[in-house]
């Protein structure tokens, strides 16, 4: 896996024979890492970096939008928003009273929703009354809230970078603190997954609907990606939008969100990386004390849905107020497949730098695109994703021309062997990338957690270099021939909504 967001499998029991300076880097780095697992299955990696008295905390929850089903699309992301709302102790003036008021809010919402469900037959006066009840219930619950207390506690300790993100196959929670405030993280993060309280749920659903409007509805590219993934996938949830469908965002409930949490946020599904000015012994003591409280729960059932082989080319065109774009996607195996490094190499050959295939041919020589690229594992790495291409036509050029030129480059990979020189560049860039990923606490958190969860061992971040070293021109051709076929592809056009020939 390329350390920005790709993954490659490492065959088990590899001996460590890395290119020399990377071996030094690895040996040095390994000394700084302490790992331990709690009885409840929660995994910790502690990386010591004492150049500044700060620590970055990164929690990787092995749950994403693929866990959703129709009716609760957007729930993984919604829960992520909820994880900022506090706990029974943080964010409330009186939990016992608040608890009752939250139940009242749920009931009021469901009553309103039941009347809305009647559609045209809904009683207008009743709807108004139920809306009033719902507003009143929310206001009542709001009396008990200490707004955004979690965020304020982190701010008040000098924290930085508080945020979280939800992807198809994972949810990440992260921030950094001055190292003297480390215990605050142990407290808040453990409480967050021990006693989360999903207060202000329905209000926050309104916030998420705004987020959807911003990222998707009012954004040509966001809109297109949603359509594209739906078209490329007919069974696997990679085809569903992580932000959720608007009707689900209008209709899902707090109890459903709690059920989602119960099912997927088992301690054994959480991996934390603590990187910075931290003492591993102290970290362990705090972890045992705080996170040891999380109950041991069985891991959730794995996702069993597999996307059937695509047997026919799929095409869509979206007409919007935008300049043209071409998107192309080919199904590929999951990033952990043995050919993962080959796909990464292909992506690097196609897109890295001005000498890359797509830039050199399509931008510099043919002057047909303003930009173009290709990369694997879209929208995710854990399950079979897409090898994804995009191209933005230059003024006066059409999507059809761009598509043709992109297919020419793709066909070259099938028909001609790439040069050893090009592969040397790929390998060196991979090494540089891994080295650079160790340059900040946050980046360490991102990379180590990902390799730990997806491959079972964070060390595979370094072993990746072995795998990339082994990629041959023949491998590239073999993988290109297997993947870049007409029946395996989905093609999407964004076309400007414009008139035909002017006079």
């Amino acid at each position: 896996m390329k350390p920005t967001s790709r993954l490659s499998l490492l065959a088990c029991a590899l001996t460590l024979t890395l290119p020399l300076s990377a071996q030094d880097s690895f040996a040095e780095f390994e000394k700084k890492v302490t790992e331990f697992t709690l009885d409840n299955g929660m995994k910790f990696l502690v990386v010591e970096r004492h150049n500044a008295p700060v620590i970055s905390f990164y929690t990787y929850a092995d749950v994403g939008s693929v866990q959703e089903v129709k009716g609760i699309t957007g729930m993984a992301h919604m829960f992520e928003h909820m994880a900022f709302k506090g706990t029974k102790k943080v964010g409330t003036k009186n939990w016992l009273e608040e608890k009752n008021s939250l139940d009242r809010v749920d009931r009021a919402f469901m009553a309103l929703r039941a009347e809305r469900d009647k559609g045209d037959k809904a009683d207008k006066a009743k709807l108004e009354a139920l809306q009033k009840d719902f507003d009143a219930a929310q206001e009542g619950a709001g009396q008990f809230v200490v707004p955004n207390e979690l965020g304020k506690l982190i701010d008040g300790a000098g924290g930085r970078g508080l945020n979280a993100s939800t992807a198809s196959d994972r949810t990440d929670y992260f921030y950094s603190l001055p190292s003297n405030a480390a215990e605050l993280w142990f407290y808040l993060e453990s409480e967050r997954f021990l006693n989360p309280v999903l207060r202000e749920f329905y209000k926050e659903a309104g916030v998420v609907r705004e987020e959807r409007r911003m990222r998707t509805d009012s954004n040509p590219i966001g809109k297109m990606i949603e359509e594209f993934l739906t078209t490329a996938y007919k069974a696997h949830p990679y085809g569903e939008p992580g932000i959720g469908h608007m009707s689900d965002l209008m209709n899902f409930t707090r109890p459903e969100a709690e059920a989602f949490f119960e099912k997927y946020y088992a301690a054994s599904n959480l991996t934390c990386v603590l990187a910075g000015d931290i003492d591993p012994k102290r970290a362990r003591a705090l972890a045992e004390a705080y996170f040891g409280r999380l109950p041991k729960r069985p891991k959730p059932e794995p996702l069993r849905i597999t996307e059937p082989k695509q047997e026919v080319e799929r095409r869509i065109t979206l007409q919007v107020q935008s300049q043209p774009w071409v998107l192309i996607g080919y199904h590929k195996p999951a990033a952990t497949h043995p050919d993962g490094p080959v796909y990464d190499a292909i992506g690097s050959l196609l897109s890295d730098g001005r000498s890359s295939r797509l830039y050199r041919r399509l931008v510099t020589e043919k002057k047909i695109v303003a930009g173009a690229g290709g990369f694997p594992d879209f929208p995710g790495e854990k399950y079979p994703g897409l090898f994804f291409f995009y191209g933005a036509a230059n003024a006066g050029k059409t999507n059809t021309e761009v598509e043709k030129a992109m297919f020419e480059e793709i066909d070259r990979l099938r028909n001609e062997l790439v040069t050893k020189e090009e592969l040397e560049g790929v390998k060196r860039r991979a090494r540089s990338s891994i080295i650079n990923s160790l340059s900040s606490n946050t980046s360490i958190g991102i990379q180590l957690s990902k390799f730990q969860v997806l491959t079972g061992d964070w060390r595979n971040l370094f072993k990746y270099l072995n795998e990339i070293e082994k990629v041959t021109p023949e491998d590239v051709q073999r993988v290109a021939r297997a993947t870049f076929t007409e029946t395996n592809r989905t093609v999407g056009y964004i076309e400007p909504a414009k008139p035909a020939a002017s006079k």
Partner: protein, 730 residues
């Protein structure tokens, strides 16, 4: 080209919880004694029960600074953690120094200095070499500075510096790379209205500084076309000199050896001797007047709402107070805007205030909210309410404490990265700030009182000082924007490239042109031409693509007073497009929509180029006529005359068969199929319709490439075409 826009969205598909801005960085404080490690095996019940040890010492790295004989200032900082070397240079230049008619010179200079290579290192070879090494040597450009950067594995440091020195001193500026960069820039111009937030942010800046300000300069097709190779070389010569460069190098090296390398490579660069470029002051008279401005975008369901005003500089006395005030107002989870408009009202995902004081010129203070169209006015009222509240009474002790602590306690983060430390020092040097400026800021923050914050709010949050910009779909707003006062629409249509300017017509050329046009008019029907009020036609249009031809059936009605109605039957179904002389609209099925902004502009331009209209009007006031010589069409000599509609700024060349006086072609600079360029229409045959002869078959090319072939199947001159036919259906 901002493929970064795309890859940022695509490669992420990541939904982040907050787009809240981070507080401004804090200054240094005297180091606290090192704490004993607490062995806390007990669990705190409430957050207040957690005992924090004292903040740990901040290690301030020692940076070396020296000046080369040629005037370059150099900072060095060793960092042996990873086997890499990084360098960053600030160069006294910037896009603020461009002449407005050639906006784009600065960034094109920077880009081509890299892409075009040096006189001894061709650009493409350099690309190959650097990519193979996993090394980067890049040039960048901002408004107030230029940059050069190096990033490489340590074993390649020497090579990288040799390359950097070469590119700085001997850039080749080859024409093909200049043309390529111009084309890339042109593509980005065409795409600049695709993204609502991008439009909104850009136009906010253009309002607050003023369209004509060097701090809001915007590339246009015309400015890019006007830039020559000589311009770029002159720009490079004037600004890229060692006296103008502050260089920082950090990473895995020995300082003495790196000093020697820098001296050897960059020290050999001779002085330029040009005067240091002055700071260009902000001219407040250029700014848009405070008030409400609006951009219609019909394809969104969310409004972008922003207010913005000029603010101050970092070295103005109010800096730290303003930073605290802005943080409390809209800096993050704890802020008023976040808590009210996002959390409490559930109206927005993005609800933030942003204070960005300039280093050497006034910066800005702004607020941004994104809310669904139906709650636009509700959100605006809530935002105004929060501003008024800030200015009406003091913030609470808790708010003040939290704002200050969040800044002060995070001090260690300012020193967490070597690159950050050295770049900050370079920035202070560049802008003439004292090296201990960060400490001053910290001391200032500590002193801020509630009264200070109130005074800052009262000074800076006066609603009458702000420009408000709303972008959205007005038809869906909860109330009309005009409730706030007079609303000024903002025109964001992209100015199309103008054709090559004709030299001033001599009286002889004008007379000859008019005579030729009289001949053309006679050949095409004479007096019958003047009687035409409208023409309707049914046509088959074939659009050429590399995959083959796409056929569209089109019914068009065009009037001589500039109205148009098109009915298109495409593979996607039937579409109507209309232009009533001012506004353009479209209809597909039951769906009626406003056309994107530049469609009306294009329709107007097309109307000004209409053949019948021109033949009726060429002798009227407002038109200029000029005979041309030496014109050819498909290799054959033709008579030619240029007609300019001065009001519409459209020039059309009529290409005339010398024998028959029939129009054999028409050429103009404009757009075809929505793409800009030089269009040539060639007429292959004519039909008689109502006493006039009009082209029945024509082929159109854009920049020499065949795009469209039109065959007219049916004509009607002066059909029934009331004005209502061209108006947008309700």
């Amino acid at each position: 080209m901002s493929t970064s826009t795309f890859s940022a969205i695509a490669a992420g598909l990541l939904l982040v919880a907050s787009s809240a801005a981070q507080p401004t960085p804090p200054p240094a404080k005297p180091a606290a004694p090192k704490p004993a490690t607490a062995s806390a095996a007990r669990v705190a019940n409430l957050p207040k029960d957690i005992v924090f040890p004292k903040l740990n010492d901040v290690k301030v790295p020692q940076t070396q600074r020296f000046t080369l004989a040629n005037g370059m200032t150099v900072f060095l900082l060793e960092d042996h953690e990873l086997p890499t070397v990084r360098a960053s240079a600030l160069i006294r230049t910037g896009s603020r120094y461009e002449p407005a008619i050639k906006t784009g010179i600065a960034s094109i200079t920077a880009e081509v200095m890299r892409s075009g290579g040096s006189t001894s290192r061709p650009g493409d070879k350099l690309d190959d070499e650097l990519d193979r090494l996993a090394a980067n040597v890049e040039f960048g450009m901002s408004r107030a500075s230029g940059t050069a950067t190096i990033s490489c594995l340590k074993e390649d440091a020497e090579k990288a510096f040799v390359i950097l020195a070469d590119l700085l001193q001997h850039p080749a500026f080859p024409q093909d790379k200049i043309d390529l960069e111009k084309q890339q820039t042109t593509a980005s111009i065409a795409r600049r209205n695709d993204d609502a937030m991008g439009i909104h942010g850009r136009e906010m800046r253009r309002l607050v500084y003023g369209k004509l300000s060097p701090y809001a300069g915007q590339v246009e097709y015309a400015t890019i076309n006007a830039i020559t190779r000589e311009d770029l070389m002159a720009f490079h010569k004037k600004y890229y000199q060692p006296e103008n460069v502050i260089l920082g190098v950090w990473g895995d090296f020995d300082a003495a050896a790196m000093k020697a390398l820098v001296e050897r490579t960059l020290g050999a660069w001779p002085k330029g001797g040009n005067a240091r470029p002055p700071v260009i002051e902000v001219d407040p008279s250029l700014a848009a007047k405070p008030g409400v401005y609006f951009i219609e975008k019909s394809d969104v369901n969310q409004s972008n709402i922003g207010i913005i005003r000029l603010a101050d500089k970092q070295n103005d006395p109010g800096y730290y107070t303003n930073a605290v005030m802005a943080d409390i107002l809209g800096g993050g989870f704890a802020s008023r805007l976040f808590n009210k408009i996002r959390t409490e009202m559930g109206l927005a995902y993005a609800s933030t205030a942003s204070y960005s004081p300039g280093m050497d010129i006034p910066g800005t203070l702004s607020v941004f909210i994104g809310t669904k169209s139906e709650t636009t006015m509700k959100a605006i009222e809530a935002m105004k309410g929060e501003l008024a509240k800030m200015a009406a009474s003091e913030v609470t002790d808790a708010e003040l404490k939290l704002a200050k602590e969040s800044i002060l306690k995070g001090e260690a983060f300012d020193y967490a990265s070597t690159g950050q430390v050295i770049n900050r020092l370079m920035g202070y040097e560049y802008y003439g700030y004292p090296p201990d400026f960060l400490q001053k800021f910290r001391a200032g923050i500590e002193k801020v009182t509630k009264a200070d914050v109130l005074a800052s709010a009262q000074k800076w949050l006066k609603q009458e000082d702000f420009v408000m910009l709303v972008l959205g779909k007005a038809a869906d707003f909860d109330q009309p924007l005009s409730k706030l006062g007079p609303v000024t629409p903002v025109d964001i249509s992209i100015p199309q490239p103008e054709g090559p300017k004709l030299s001033e017509a001599t009286p002889e050329a004008e007379a000859a042109g008019k005579a030729l046009l009289a001949k053309v008019k006679a050949a095409h029907g004479g007096a019958a031409i003047d009687a035409v009020k409208a023409v309707a036609q049914k046509a088959e249009i074939k659009i050429t693509t590399p995959q083959g031809e796409m056929a569209i059936q089109q019914e068009a009605t065009v009037t001589t007073d500039g109205k148009q109605l098109l009915k298109l039957v495409t593979p996607m179904g039937e579409m109507l497009q209309g232009f009533d002389g001012e506004k353009a609209w479209g209809k597909q099925g039951a769906n009626v929509m406003d056309a994107p902004p530049n469609q009306a502009a294009q329709a107007k331009q097309a109307a000004a180029r209409d053949t019948v209209t021109l033949l009726q009007s060429y002798a009227k006031p407002g038109y200029k006529v000029q005979a041309l010589s030496g014109e050819k069409l498909e290799g054959k000599d033709v008579d030619a005359v240029a007609i300019t509609n001065e009001a519409a700024k459209q020039t059309v060349k009529f290409l005339v068969d010398p024998a028959t006086g029939m129009l054999t072609g028409k050429s103009y600079t404009g757009s075809l199929m929505g793409q800009p360029g030089t269009v040539v229409e060639r007429y292959l045959s004519f039909t008689d319709a109502g006493g006039i002869k009009l082209p029945s078959q024509s082929v159109s090319t854009l920049n020499g490439n065949k795009v469209v072939e039109t065959t007219i199947k049916e004509w009607k001159v002066n059909p029934d075409a009331p004005a209502s036919a061209f108006a947008k259906p309700q």
